[in-house]
Structure formats: C-alpha cells, structure tokens
Symmetry: C2
Subunit: 415 residues, 2 copies
Amino acid sequence: MLKVSIITIGDEVRIGQVVNTNAAWIAKEITQLGAFISNHITIGDDFDLMLSTLKSEINKNDIIITTGGLGPTHDDITKPVLLKYFNDEIIFDQNSFQNIKKLFNSRGRPITDRNKLQAYIPSKSIPLLNQLGTAPGLMYKLPDDKLLFVLPGVPAEMKSITSNSILSIIEAKIKQQNHNVILYKTLHVAGIFESSLADLVGDVDEFLELSTLAFLPSYGGIRLRIGTEAENFDIAQKEIDRITEILYKKVGQFIIGEDELDLATLLSEKLKKRKYTVAVAESCTGGGLGFEFTKIPGSSSYFLGGVISYSNSVKNEFLNIPNKILEQYCAVSKETAELMAMNCRLKFNSDYSLSITGIAGPDGGSEDKPVGTVWIGISDKEQTTAKLFHFGNDRDLIRERSIQTALLMLFDLIK
Amino acid sequence: MLKVSIITIGDEVRIGQVVNTNAAWIAKEITQLGAFISNHITIGDDFDLMLSTLKSEINKNDIIITTGGLGPTHDDITKPVLLKYFNDEIIFDQNSFQNIKKLFNSRGRPITDRNKLQAYIPSKSIPLLNQLGTAPGLMYKLPDDKLLFVLPGVPAEMKSITSNSILSIIEAKIKQQNHNVILYKTLHVAGIFESSLADLVGDVDEFLELSTLAFLPSYGGIRLRIGTEAENFDIAQKEIDRITEILYKKVGQFIIGEDELDLATLLSEKLKKRKYTVAVAESCTGGGLGFEFTKIPGSSSYFLGGVISYSNSVKNEFLNIPNKILEQYCAVSKETAELMAMNCRLKFNSDYSLSITGIAGPDGGSEDKPVGTVWIGISDKEQTTAKLFHFGNDRDLIRERSIQTALLMLFDLIK
C-alpha cells in the first residue's frame, strides 16, 4: 500500500471559518488511483507545529501532501518552515516568474514586488507549474523514495496542480514499486429500507472473501461501498467487478447509480438520451431544484427553466393557481402541488415538470402541517400526481431533501 | 488556553466521499467560546489507529471531541475502541433506551434489536441525550481535569448534542480554571483592492499590540480577521472591540459586515427593515440566487420569487425579452440583462430585481464572450443597469461568484 497523508495548513480552516473541501477532494482523487489515505490533519499557521507534523507524517507515510500557507502575506509561513526543515535556502525561479508575468499580463495588471516574491522557492524543491495563480506547487524527493508535495490552499489552484502534475506521478509510483492497491466502489440504492436491503444481500461472508462491504444510509437512500485490496490495480478491479455483479443480482432493481454519480447527473444522462425536457415550479426550495439541475454542464439541452413561486401571488399569476385553491387547500397541499406541476409543464411546454411546496420553517408550521411538511408534484402528458413527505425540522435539510427527493421521483417515473 | 482536538472517524470522510463539515462546525462553535482548537484529525474505521490517536490527542489536549463510528453496524467501532482504551465493559442505559423508544414511537416504527443495541454504553462514560437519533453522545472525565466527548457522525445529531450538552461545559471550564482566552473577529470588506486596503490600514504594529490581523482575500471581497489572546473573555472582547473601532475609523466605509454574517443575511436585515421586496431572473445560475435568498428564515417577507429563464424561449415568454434583442445582442449581453431585470421587477411588482445571464461553461464560450462572462442586471423604480464580470473558467465558481456578486450589487444599491 502506498500510504498518503494530507496536511491542511491555515488558521481559517483550524478555527472553522472555512470547511476543508481540499482534503476531501485530494483524498477522493488519490483513492481512485488505489493509494491508501492514512489520515487528514488540519493545523494552524504555527511554525513549530508545522515542523513537528511534517516530521511525524513523513515518518509514517510514503507521500505527504500539504495545502495552504504559500501566499504572499506574513501569515503564510509554509516556505519558511520548509527552509528550516530541509536546512535550505531560497532561490529565484525564472520559470515561476515567467508564469506570474503571464498571469498578470492576461489580467492587464502590473506585477508588484509582493507578487514577484512568489517566484522565490526553496532550492531543494522542484517547482510545479500553477496555471491559475502566483504560488507554484513544490515537490520534494525524500529518502526511501518518499515524496512531499506542497500546494497552495486556493481550491482551484490546488486542483489544477494536482491534476496536471501529481496524480500521474502517484499512479506511476504505485505501478513501478508494486504497491498493493486498495479500491472502492459505491452502489447507490433507493426505494428500500436498510433492514430489508440487508436481508436481500444476505450473509456477506459467503461472497466477500477478503473484500469489505459497508452499508451507508443517507437521506437519498443507502450507499453500499465495496472495498478491496489486491496486489495490483487490475486484480483489485476484477474483484470489485465480481462483487458488483453479485450485488446487482441480489438487489439490482434498487440500484440507481454507481460511485459519485449523483441524481442530477443520472437524470441528465437519461433526459439527454431520450431527448426529454423538464421545467420546475419551486416554492420552499426557492430555486434550489433548478440550481441542482443546472450544475450539470450541458443541462440547457433538457432543462428549460422554472418559476420560483415563493409568494402566493406568484403562484397565482405565473402558474395560474386559482386563489380559491390556495385559500381552500392552502399553498402546501396536494391540490396546489399538482396544479403547480401541471401548469408549469403546460406553460413551459416541457415533457416533464416537478413542483415543490412545503414548510421549511422555522416558522409557518401548524399542528396540521408541521415544519418539514413538503408536497412534491410531478407531471407528464399522461398523469399528474403529488406525494407528501415529512423531512424533519432543520430548514437546510428540509430543502436539500426536497430537492433530492424530487429528482428521485423524476428518475423513477422515467425509468 | 484550553486546548481542544477534534477527531473525525469514518472511512467515508477519510477517502473523500464526504466533506468534513462536522470538524468545521465544532471548531467554529468552540472558537467562539475562547478555547483554542489545536488541530483536526480525520482517520478511518481502524481500531489500532483510533486507539493510538485517542492516546496522543488526550496526551496533548485538555478536551478531545470525536465524531463518527457510533452507529449500529459492524463498521462502527468507536464503542469497542473506548472499551479497550478504558478497560471497560458495556452496560444497558435505561435513559438512552427510553429516548430510543420515544424516537421510534414518534415515527410510528417498531424498535428492532439492532436499534436497542444503541442503548448499551461503556460503564465509565456519561451518556449525553441525543434528541434526534438513537446513538447517545458519551462524556468521559479524565485525569488532569481533561474531558473526552464522543459524538455520532450524523451532522444534525452531532450539532444537537454539542449545543445542548457540551458548549456550556466548555464555557464553564474556561471560566472556572482561569484559562487564557483566544478570540477572533472578522470584518468583511468589499469594493477595494487588497493593496489599497493595506495602505489605508497602514502600519498594523501601531495599534495591534499583542493581537494579530490577517488579510484573507475571497471572491466576495476581503476578510480582515482580528485575533487576540487575553486572561479572560471580557478582556479579550475589549481588546477585539478596541481594534474593531480603529479599523472602522480607517476603512469603515468599505466594511459590509462582521463575522459569519453573509451577504444574504445582511441583505435580509436591510430588506426587512425597509420593507422592500425583491424578485430575480436567473439564467446561468439556474435558481441559485433564489435558493440563496430563501435560505434565510423569514425570507418570504421580502423575496417574492423569480423566473429561471434557462432557455431563450423562457426569456421571451416569461420575461418579455423580444427575440430581436436575443438575436441581435445574444442572451449574454448588457441589453438582455437589463431587460431581464426590468421586466422581472415589473412582472413581480417588486421594489428591486436582479438578473443574471452568463456563460458558465465548459461549453458555449467564444472568443468574444469566453466562459466566465456574466452580465448582472439590477433594477429599481429609478434605474436599470447591468455590469459585466469575468469569473474565471470553473463552472461551479462562476455560478457561486455570480450569485454573491448579485447580492453585493443589491446591498450597495440599497446602502
């Protein structure tokens, strides 16, 4: 196994001002290569702690990746720490400077001395081109064939350097040094309770052999994660395929997707293939369903648009919901949800439409219709229906669950 | 200083399948009390590594908080690790069982044996009520007045137990034991370049004394984070206030908010106070601006709704943008953005409106209008204008920046 440690540096992450998306992204990319992430560590801009963490992680791992602390301000002390750790000195790197010049030229801005400072790098490091920013990444070749990669904390820059320079090095290293490979595959299951799923899967020891199977419930369904270790990538992949096949035989009718494919992506493929179009009418989600549809590149080929009918007057004017219906049944009702969906489909002239109307709270709930009550409507040329859900009492979760459930309803209908 | 370590347990976080929002949330809450977060560590469901991490973190810190691994499946090994670490045995906790019964009754579901297992806890631990789930939190009183808190990984449950049971204990501990307190305050600055801001702030050594000031550029502007350490909360707060006052004198006209107050929240207060209403017309953000407005509880008092005009036909039909305009100037143009904003305001009869039309990519760009080109329009009774932005070439970032910039434009207009 090639053991990898991820170190995130920065007070803003340490004190929780920024969520550590960098570590998750790096971990996911490197796990896909078959390497083993041993841990993520987040520390502040603290010279001594950075030194001791670097030391212990280099000691325990084959590859160490740090992000953060490479900027041009006095808080950014990653380079001084490296100079101390490797007993090194700073040198001017012409290539990095050319890159900085190119960046500033393209933005039409002059280079300041502070920007130029970014072209100074530790002499024992190998610079890695940063196409999106002024701080080059740094690579160190360490004893025992270990590698240290030092990256800026800006997510786009970190991702660009990792994708362009680091992943291929790690991939080659795993192959050349015959490291054992660990692979994972996730199957997304929906429409069945966890206990019933476990019954259908049966005794896992009968087919898992040396692999593992984790049951991970989430509000969109249940994730089944297969994990396997083998002497190389191909053997691991075959073992994953073998178990995947068995699981498809056992619970295939409930599997809606694999790996990171989320519902919006899955739907996107289906809608594109069949040339269907969709429109949305959103109340409590305020546009979130449309936002989720349109995160997919190319969504304009099937997503026509929508109406955010947050107030009743908008429901009335833009979606022709009669005030009588809104008064008699209220905005959060089967009747309103169905009319929203149907009229949305007709107005947008789409093949399908989805509507969401609910009480996201914290106010607005009643004994009859407590916070978390959500009606989701769906309409095609043949039918219009709406389903009632209770999504708990956390505003953000209610909205997120509404969006994912609406996507799932459309996914099921097209299936 | 009360030193706190946060340990996140779970393979799904380790391999990057899930972003570690738990650690950020805990860090932020505890930092606000004046405690010092020394680090966050993420490890997998690995018995030995959990044991050794627990040992070293207890050794180096006053308070240790773990999340994850308390579920009812075989992957969840936090309780076995605790039994081993403390040489302890498991006992049935009647209170925890009553809570589980209550939860299942309220959902109208029967309790299975697997659920009942959750009421068994290590005898040396003190259970902390989990109002939202079946796994109670656990507290251990350790030698040298140290504390270990063990929490479930489900974010809502972790948050509920932390808020209800843990924060007050930490707060009291800081006071009783006379720990030094570290506090931070962030001022959000917009409408000025970082270098000009630095010039206006001037020599920080003249007023910082023992405090620190970090400049953190972000795409919505620049964050100025003051950090200070003092012998108690009141003294630290006074020092923060003193520096805040100085910064307001120096750059007050550019400060748009404090601490975690984001733009949607700031706008919400302004709109509510002045009883203004707003509507949106969104193209490339697909509903994201509406979603951002409506994340605020009570947003229905000022947010009327919007049109997601993802396709040109929707721009034409719902927002009366003449096809001639769309053909002559194209959908991503000053003319279209202004018409979208104006017609949206008129159709929704709102005081203000915002429109966004741009090229989020990766396709659809041209030499003239590359990916990242975004026009944002704004309209009130007196004027309608639109501004051109270039937000790079990352689809998610382009959409996020468009949303935040639109909010900022409205914020500035109302100011």
